[in-house]
Point group: C2
């Protein structure tokens, strides 16, 4: 078998690579490990719960409306720590660069990383640089790993029947911004990536109420994240299509291209399951944050299995886990 | 300015990339940060000192005598943690794979990672996989980051006049093993990479005596590591050429190719500065370990600056920091 683009696309197919790692002898250092396939690992150190996570970034183009590979490489890891309930402390940066890459472009990428780090007061404490010969790598790839500390750990498998499902804003912005800038569609300048560091907003929400489960809908989009949450929590989720926030520009692009906005990556959104009684309070906190203005309660958790969309027309359909994100190298 | 291969080769030139990161606002989370340019960062969490480090690996060929990219990606990070005095707890793994890469080869790489992890009882707790289109990446790149806990932090800048300099074994094995297997020289099967996880051996040495400074001589080899230790410690180091352990096969290859064995990477060696009174005891512990059989006391620390080699012929020459490792993509 050969590796295909879908093996890196965050959906069903990626599971084949994940399965390879099931033969690793030690996948857990006493907390939450690789076998949980959550957004990050948790390791008890002394009396603290340390959250540890990593992501590599190969997005193209390197600069797109609303962001760039530097911002996304910082936000991706900060957000994975936040999704576990952690407060990010420090990131590492592993650069792999193609020979001949422009130094000024690298400098701009580092500036952008710095701005994203500074937004959340996170340090970049350690790094590594490798260079590959011209033609051996398309420009640059950036890995970040990160550590944080969680007072309250939040999982992606904690949904309970009766919970409300909240999304922190419009879905599909990042995937379509990348796609549009790559293809130079006319609507390219109307769709802006949502890439943002969410730790501040997430902890404001955690202070306002209880969060039973949380995940950021990155590769494979909302469809992938919500199915994973439902499956791991052993519940059914009903989503109301009318309540799902999607920008009209994204909707137009999705119809033009035949790509479901629920299946493409977001880089500045969170999906939460919260007790119904806390939903309005948490929603208000999210809406008061710069990255949560379009937050909405979009569904409910019930007994059962699967994710059902109640359509605007009054019908019902399943939201399935996509095979993989329809946009290659979206992050 | 354009990025050159030397920007990733661990010597003088790599400093230009490192300098770019000096504009990062926060480089330190309260312990040892990026600005120290040590083998890893240290972050105080609760009452513990957490060591955090990262390395990406792009070595070619993927499999070479004595090791492979999987083993090196685990050992590189375990060793960076050990060089700070830390006991490694957990690693992350960020895979970037070229479309079309063979699944069985990936499986062998994961097996090799598992064996190296198991040797030191370290867990692989979190990961990420990205796939790039065919032609956008030469086969595979593997990043690992790691966290450990240090009871005693060891720096690379703690040498004191009077210290003895110890190396844990023969120098240049990894660089020449990679080079030989790449070029298919006749002596390829006589030179075996030293790639190995050193945490167990290093902690046995730490238990046996005091270690003032420690570094693993990877890219840029012993010449780069010893100069960095001397410069940061503000001392002069005298090395006795006759005492430096180099395999005869490595010496032969180095003469044939005109490459200094002190400038190529080692992946299973440590350079230590220890009080003269502890040197024999620590040496004995190293020699008793499977990865330290050829350990030797090779020099002394004095007041002054620079690294001087007392040659076998009775002369003296400087050991200079190389511009970069002469073997591209050695790790």
């Amino acid at each position: 078998m050969k590796i295909s683009l879908m093996h890196g696309a965050g959906g069903e197919v990626m599971g084949e690579v994940v399965d390879l790692f099931s033969k690793i002898t030690n996948t857990n250092a006493g907390g939450i490990g690789l076998e949980a396939l959550d957004d990050g690992a948790v390791i008890p150190i002394g009396d603290r719960q340390v959250v540890f996570t990593t992501d590599s970034h190969v997005v193209r183009p390197l600069f797109f409306p609303g962001g760039d590979i530097g911002r996304i490489s910082v936000c991706g890891t900060i957000n994975d720590i936040a999704m576990m309930g952690g407060r990010p402390l420090a990131l590492s940066c592993g650069l792999i660069i193609e020979e001949g890459f422009d130094f000024d472009t690298l400098s701009k990428i580092v500036d952008s990383m710095d701005r994203a780090l500074s937004e959340e007061n996170v340090s970049l404490v350690t790094g590594d640089t490798k260079v590959m010969e011209k033609g051996a790598l398309d420009q640059i790839a950036i890995n970040t790993a990160g550590i944080g500390v969680a007072e309250t750990i939040v999982r992606d498998n904690g949904l309970i029947p009766g919970d409300a499902i909240i999304v922190s804003g419009t879905l599909g912005d990042h995937g379509f911004a990348v796609l549009a800038s790559r293809e130079e569609f006319d609507f390219a300048d109307q769709i802006i990536s949502d890439v943002a560091p969410l730790s501040g907003m997430v902890h404001a929400a955690m202070n306002a109420g209880t969060i039973h489960a949380m995940k950021d809908p990155t590769r494979g989009g909302f469809a992938s994240a919500i199915n994973e949450m439902a499956k791991k929590s052993k519940v059914m989720i009903r989503i109301s299509e009318e309540e799902v926030p999607i920008r009209s520009s994204v909707r137009a692009a999705s119809q033009l291209l035949g790509i479901d906005p629920l299946e493409v990556a977001n880089e500045g959104k969170v999906v939460m399951g919260v007790p119904a009684d806390d939903a309005e309070t948490i929603l208000k906190v999210l809406k008061g944050h710069r990255y949560g203005k379009d937050a909405a309660i979009i569904g409910t958790v019930q007994e059962g299995t699967g994710v059902i969309m109640e359509t605007a027309a009054g019908g019902e359909r399943f939201i399935e886990t996509p095979m993989g994100d329809p946009v290659p190298r979206v992050c």
